[in-house]
């Protein structure tokens, strides 16, 4: 399994090197990649369907931390894999024509392939950490896909929003993985299944849910994180079809479904999902009918549909889980159809504004048929797969055990479906039927690749709708088993006899049609929505982001002033604050002068020279003398090292000091004498900081004399220097042997510094040469 996913990545990368792909007739051949993957996954269908066994593929990655590339194939992951590769194949084929001649077409297919591989990784991973890795990879690749038209500012902005929101969610998912891992002692999802009760009773259950939900809600565009999704419409239409129907946004749903048997069936879980899902589905559905852009309408219906699935998982009864399982497939089929239809309409007429479209059925009859079926399926009209999905959703809400909630849930579901049907009609019917609009005259006929994929999908919608047992026995039952944790038996049929549910369905259809006609001529619908813009989550998020940026600028200006003296002062003040606090708060200050020896005469002399040099350095008006004076201080310290028996230190310090002085001279030689940059105030401030710093260091030094030193390490080095490393000079042995890695890294750091200086200065000279 790992091989399959890796192969997807490799193939995706290798498309980058196919030059001339844009003009080639063979772009469509790339479809073979997802198609063969589809067939591969299809071959597992009989196994998954028949047995209750779960197929596990184990690959170790970091065994010491419990991280692995384990993959698990059960009903849920198989359904998603089939959607990803199946719809992926159609999208590949469609895009090969849709983007024909685009200069970055090989880039596009590389992104698409990487994205597909990442999505497969998400739905197949059995290890939370590798799931997180693939999860983030989907965010990043979708960032590239959404921002594919990167010369367009809106595209870039939308891509950033999507990455920002889903990336934020990714952090929560990682937190979730870390907490679950530390509580349960395993990152493996199928092992977590056995600890379900333990996790639900754990004190951190609430936090776990919060982390998981944040991850899932951001990815699946649940309220109030929904707004990145309409923005993602800036992507080329085939990508939208893919992201919305089969992949990216469904990842959050997948995550919730995957953890339903582990963490679900708890009052927190159910209530949160019911509320968030319910709000999202209603919000998205109502918003959708106010749009005029076909893709905009579809984006909001996607939000609504995702809310519906979350809501059903929240309801949590057997029927609801079954309904969720079906609705994933229902939605994927009709949504992909409608998106591909939209793409074709856009491609042929160059507009997606529904007020300008009408009567297209004459030029593209097949496409009109596909759109009609998809619209009917989204409205849940009998004989389509959508009808079956809707029936079972109503059934699930209507039979909710608490009566008043059953009423509310059913009401919300009906209302949502009314709006969804109207929205479906707006996209699927309005552009094709009625009077032929001006824009729609003399439209070229779409080519085969542009109409066959949506037709295939819509035919599937019809087949599954007419013969529900086919898909029920095939996969839905095992999906429901994977989500519910146990076998759920349900019979799917077109006609259950006349009951309340059928009445509700009928009512929905009637109201949906009524709403469609009511909104049809409404031109200023966008303005109504615009009035509430300042209250929208997007606005609030934008506000927060803006404030954050302002704060970042202010903060940067404060600490990155560009003046070396300010940097030094910030560092020193921070050090004084931190170490000073620690010293006075936690360490009993004792100064023990007993162990100190008396000044010897040459020490006194050196000390006096140091003091004089310091005063000279402070007061001199010339840079060169100041440098010389600091050099003298350095040499005096060398002498002190010599007096106290540290020849290695003394030698190094001596050499370094010499070079420092030389360096300073080189740099400062050309500068004029001191300018009067500082006034009394600044000098006073500097004096306070330096005296505080010096005093603090002296205190620490004196304190170090009092505290008993831990001699064990130095003794170890002293005892083993010759035994282990054949050296008599302990300092050198430490440098080249015991702590050799430190030295190695330090030399590398030095080298980088030298290259940095070289690069900076050479670059500047070249710049000047050019400007001259």
């Amino acid at each position: 399994m790992l091989f399959i996913i890796l192969l997807t990545f490799v193939l995706a990368f290798s498309t980058l090197f196919l030059k001339g792909l844009g003009r080639s007739k063979f772009t469509g051949l790339l479809t073979l990649i997802p198609l063969s993957l589809f067939i591969y996954f299809l071959s597992y269908l009989p196994k998954i369907r028949s047995g209750k066994e779960v197929l596990l593929f184990r690959n170790e990655w970091v065994p010491s931390l419990g991280i692995a590339f384990d993959f698990k194939l059960d009903g849920l992951s198989l359904l998603f894999s089939l959607l990803i590769t199946g719809i992926g194949a159609l999208v590949y084929w469609y895009a090969s024509y849709y983007l024909k001649g685009h200069i970055y077409i090989q880039r596009f297919f590389a992104y698409l392939g990487l994205f597909m591989g990442a999505m497969l990784g998400v739905v197949l991973s059995d290890n939370l950490i590798s799931l997180f890795v693939f999860w983030e990879l989907t965010s990043i690749t979708s960032f590239f896909l959404i921002g594919f038209n990167n010369e367009d500012e809106d595209s870039r902005k939308s891509a950033l929003w999507a990455l920002g929101i889903t990336g934020l969610g990714g952090f929560f998912l990682l937190s979730f993985a870390a907490v679950v891992g530390s509580i349960a002692g395993s990152y493996s999802i199928h092992e977590l299944l056995t600890q379900s009760d333990f996790l639900k009773e754990h004190a951190s259950y609430g936090i776990l849910l919060f982390f998981l939900f944040m991850g899932a809600f951001t990815k699946s565009a649940q309220f109030p994180f929904h707004f990145w999704l309409p923005g993602a419409m800036k992507a080329p239409t085939p990508v939208s079809a893919y992201l919305h129907s089969a992949t990216m946004v469904k990842a959050g749903i997948y995550l919730l479904a995957r953890f339903t048997p582990v963490l679900g069936d708890h009052v927190y879980w159910n209530t949160t999902l019911q509320v968030i899902g319910g709000v999202t589905m209603l919000f998205g559905a109502i918003h959708s009918v106010f749009r005029k852009d076909m893709k905009g309408i579809l984006a909001y219906t996607t939000i609504s549909a995702l809310g519906m699935i979350v809501f059903l998982l929240g309801v949590g009864s057997e029927k609801a889980i079954y309904a969720a399982s079906i609705f994933i497939l229902v939605h994927a089929l009709y949504k992909a159809t409608l998106f591909l239809v939209t793409g074709t309409v856009d491609h042929q007429t160059h507009t997606r504004d529904i007020t300008q479209l009408g009567g297209l059925r004459k030029t593209m009859p097949a496409l009109a048929g596909a759109a009609l079926i998809a619209a009917l399926s989204s409205a849940g009209i009998p004989l389509t797969f959508g009808f079956i999905g809707k029936e079972i959703i109503y059934d699930a809400t209507y039979t909710y055990p608490i009566n008043q909630w059953a009423l509310v849930f059913t009401g919300v579901a009906v209302l949502t479906n009314v709006f969804l049907s109207a929205a479906g009609f707006l996209v699927g019917i309005k552009p094709f039927f009625g009077k032929v609009k001006e824009r729609c005259q003399d439209v070229p006929k779409p080519s085969l690749q542009m109409w066959l994929p949506p037709v295939v999908l819509s035919v599937l919608s019809l087949v599954f709708g007419a013969l529900p047992q086919l898909v029920n026995q095939g996969i839905i039952a095992s999906v429901a088993r994977a989500i519910g944790g146990k076998t759920i038996e349900m019979e799917l049929a077109l006609w259950h006899g006349f009951n309340e549910i059928v009445a509700l369905s009928g009512g929905t259809i009637v109201l949906g049609i009524a709403l469609y006609f009511a909104f049809k001529g409404y031109q200023n619908s966008l303005r109504i929505v615009a009035r509430f813009d300042s209250l929208s989550p997007q606005h609030i998020f934008g506000f927060v982001v803006e404030k954050f940026r302002t704060f970042a600028y202010a903060y940067t200006r404060l600490f990155q002033s560009g003046y070396l003296r300010i940097y030094l002062m910030v560092i020193i003040v921070f050090f004084i604050g931190l170490v000073g606090y620690k010293l006075f708060a936690d360490v009993p200050l004792r100064v023990n002068t007993e162990g100190l020896s008396e000044f010897r005469i040459y020490e006194l002399v050196v000390f006096l020279i140091t003091v004089i040099a310091i005063f000279f350095a402070i007061n001199t008006p010339s840079r060169l003398s100041a440098i010389a004076a600091t050099g003298v201080v350095g040499y005096c310290i060398c002498l002190i090292f010599v007096f106290y028996g540290a020849p290695d230190l003394a030698m190094t310090q001596f050499a370094i000091d010499t070079l420092t002085v030389v360096l300073f001279v080189l740099v400062l030689f050309k500068l004029p004498g001191f300018l009067k940059l500082s006034n009394r105030k600044i000098q006073f401030r500097d004096a306070v900081v330096s005296i505080a710093f010096g005093g603090l260091i002296s205190l620490i030094t004196l304190q170090a004399l009092v505290s008993p030193a831990d001699k064990e390490i130095s003794r170890y080095y002293a005892e083993n220097a010759y035994v282990l490393a054949k050296g008599k000079n302990v300092v050198n042995v430490i440098l080249v042997d015991f702590r050799g890695f430190d030295t190695l890294i330090e030399t590398i750091v030095l080298s980088i510094a030298a290259l940095g200086v070289y690069g900076l200065l050479k670059y500047r000279t070249k710049d000047e040469e050019i400007s001259e």
Binding site: M651, A655, L663, K728, T747, S751, A753
Partner: protein, 146 residues
């Protein structure tokens, strides 16, 4: 610009130049001596490298940066690469004979004057070269460009 720089950076005295001619080889010899004795007495690659750098800096003061650079067959920057490679190679040598990275490996026979020879010595020589390369690169780049 170059002319101006040379006039100011070069201390144009006969005594310094003459002294430097003798001091340069002596200082480099001394730095090698410090490098090699490091394992037994105070010294080592780092200090040795610094001393050698000082020798070249002195030379550049007496003559000019250009003439000092002419003493090298190649840019001192290359010393960084050579030194790092040597250090890393000596750290990897034990791996080839099945020991963990950075384990000291020693020749059985001691060499006259130097004493026991092992990977640590080559590691130290690497450090020595890196230090010379770094110091000279930084100083000469600055000297040429300020």
């Amino acid at each position: 610009m170059k002319k101006y720089q040379n006039k100011h950076h070069v201390l144009d005295t006969t005594i310094l130049r003459t002294a430097t001619n003798y001091l340069l080889p002596l200082l480099i010899l001394f730095s090698l001596f410090v490098l090699l004795r490091g394992h037994y007495l105070s010294g080592g690659g780092f200090v040795g490298g610094l001393i050698a750098s000082i020798a070249f800096v002195l030379h550049s003061f007496a003559y000019s940066t250009k003439q000092t650079l002419a003493l090298f067959q190649f840019s001192p920057m290359r010393l960084i690469g050579i030194g790092l490679s040597l250090s890393i190679f000596s750290a990897l040598v034990p791996v080839f004979i099945g020991l963990p990275v950075m384990t000291g490996v020693w020749f059985a026979e001691s060499v006259a004057v130097i004493g026991a020879v092992g990977t640590a010595l080559f590691f130290d020589i690497g450090v020595y070269l890196v230090v010379i390369g770094v110091v000279l690169t930084i100083l000469f780049t600055i000297a040429e460009n300020v």
